[in-house]
């Protein structure tokens, strides 16, 4: 057997288990969702009681989904959510990483671990937890805020989105801090020393050396935050009983879940899932195209 053949055979051999599962649980579901989304249910017989049959209907489900104000609103909700969540997450993680990485901070190990701990708390558990902390009457936070003269309401229609931002930030900021620190640590320290000797201020070193070098990690954290934001599901679902303004169509995932399991319209739900995936792909690829240059040398 030629070397070329042997290389190909071995390469594909090592890839095979992953590819089989990848096709089965990534590619096929997408194709199946697209296929399903092209059908609509027609009820037959008197009063629609004669059963139902599927009929091919081109893009009717997409038209239905995109002309449904509740679903379009849900898309806006997650887009606005991402618009708040991404800067909050990235700026906080970056600030913490830079502070921790500056050698002068004492107890770096303790702080790093403290920030990272919440990442071990599942999103639903975090939501149950914060849910208790958001409800007046149980939460000690209200007393705490009142004692400094602040009156807040964490679960009003105006604040609930920010309260969810808080939960997600609490869960993932520490993870992003670790990613960013890892990147900053990989920079040759002589570079900072040289800049310092040349008389650069700490701000200049951050702005002109650290930030540009940390770019791949910043881009990665941002993309994951965008993709994560659009998938919002567990947090609003768990907070729903305490926050009246969270409807069953609050986010696209909730809307699709509701459509499939409570309205029993799998086809429309499939179309909604495809729309969500498309929006997420466009945004994350778009972001990578604009800011990701220079990552893959």
């Amino acid at each position: 057997m030629s070397i070329k053949n042997r290389q190909a055979r071995s390469g594909w051999g090592f890839l095979a288990p992953f590819l089989v599962l990848f096709v089965a649980f990534f590619i096929l579901p997408i194709l199946y969702a697209i296929y399903q989304s092209l059908f609509t249910v027609k009820r037959t017989g008197e009063l629609g009681l004669g059963g139902q049959e599927l009929s091919f209907s081109w893009f009717d489900n997409y038209t239905t989904a995109l002309s449904d104000t509740a679903f379009v609103d849900s898309l806006w909700t997650v887009l606005i959510f991402a618009l708040i969540q991404v800067p909050v997450m990235v700026l906080l993680a970056l600030t913490l990483a830079l502070l921790l990485e500056s050698a002068s901070a004492r107890g770096v190990g303790f702080f790093r671990t403290a920030y990272f701990l919440p990442h071990g708390v599942p999103g639903v558990i975090a939501s149950i937890l914060w849910g208790f902390l958001y409800v007046p009457g149980i939460s000690p936070l209200y007393n705490l805020f009142e004692s400094v003269g602040l009156s807040v309401d964490f679960i009003s229609p105006d604040t609930i989105l920010l309260s969810i931002v808080n939960i997600v930030t609490w869960e993932f900021a520490g993870y992003n801090v670790l990613v960013l620190i890892a990147q900053l640590k990989a920079v040759n320290p002589n570079l900072f020393e040289a800049a310092r000797v040349d008389g650069a201020s700490p701000w200049r070193i951050i702005w002109h050396i650290k930030l540009p070098l940390a770019r791949p990690a910043i881009v990665m954290a941002t993309v994951f935050t965008i993709v994560g934001s659009l998938q919002l599901f567990a947090e609003p679902l768990v907070l729903r009983p305490v926050a009246a303004s969270i409807t069953y169509t609050y986010t696209p995932n909730l809307a699709a879940y509701n459509e499939a399991f409570f309205e029993n319209n799998y086809q429309l739900a499939a179309a909604q899932a495809v729309v969500l995936a498309a929006v997420a792909m466009v945004l994350s690829f778009g972001f990578l195209r604009i800011f990701g240059r220079g990552d893959k040398q």
Binding site: Q7, W12, F22, G123, I128
Partner: protein, 278 residues
Amino acid sequence: MTARAKIITTAVLTVVAVYFLLPVYWLIVAATKTTEDLFGSNGLWFSSPRLWTNMVELFTFQDGIYLRWTLNSILYAGVGALCATFICAMAGYGLAKYRFAGREKVFNLVLGGVLLPATALTLPLYLLMSEFSMANTYWAVLLPAMVSPFGVYLCRIYAAAAVPDELLEAARIDGASEFRVFLTVALRIMTPALVTIFLFQFVGIWNNYFLPLIMLSDSNLYPITLGLTSWQGFASRQPILYQLTVGGAFVSVIPLMIMMVVLQRFWRTGLTQGSVKE
């Protein structure tokens, strides 16, 4: 840095630490309380603590279903992450160390998989699983957990940078088969990346909620996350469930917290490779 800057930095870091730790502290305090105290006493301080009684109640309620959920979570996350790591290692190694037509195409497909929101796949996955009558089985949660495009990405980068071709060549000359070379030589060198992927996947599966929620209807198959929300959902009718939910959340968080503290060093070394080297 001046002494003043040092103090300010430490002060800021401390305030932030309070923010991250306060809910965890609240959980510890709340786990020792009765349902009445949960609502009637100061949330930040203990009130006639009775952790042991609460734990006994937690583990005996409904014939000890909580323990079953815990074991299910361990099964899903442990087996799922272990298989995912091994499969990623093979795929990443294959992509890094062999040259063949279509290699870059496969890699781009994997990158696409990293960016695709997993939850958008969950519903179609359920429809597909139902077609094959696999919904509401262990497999429905376990099999999708074994796929990690991000893991393949990380393994490829790590294997390309850390596994020397000369070493593989030497093992081949000694007569080892390709798979044996991978098992005995490559896997060992790739360990830091593999620990990262295992952790990443373990936490991901343990924390996943959408997939089991959709797939499982038999509460005997539930992982902890799903079990606890089912309790929380009934709590307004059966108030003891408030206390059980809190106690259950407390117990479920402990093993992962320990894992985070012990293994974050490995986690970090692995991450450096992922984002820096190419």
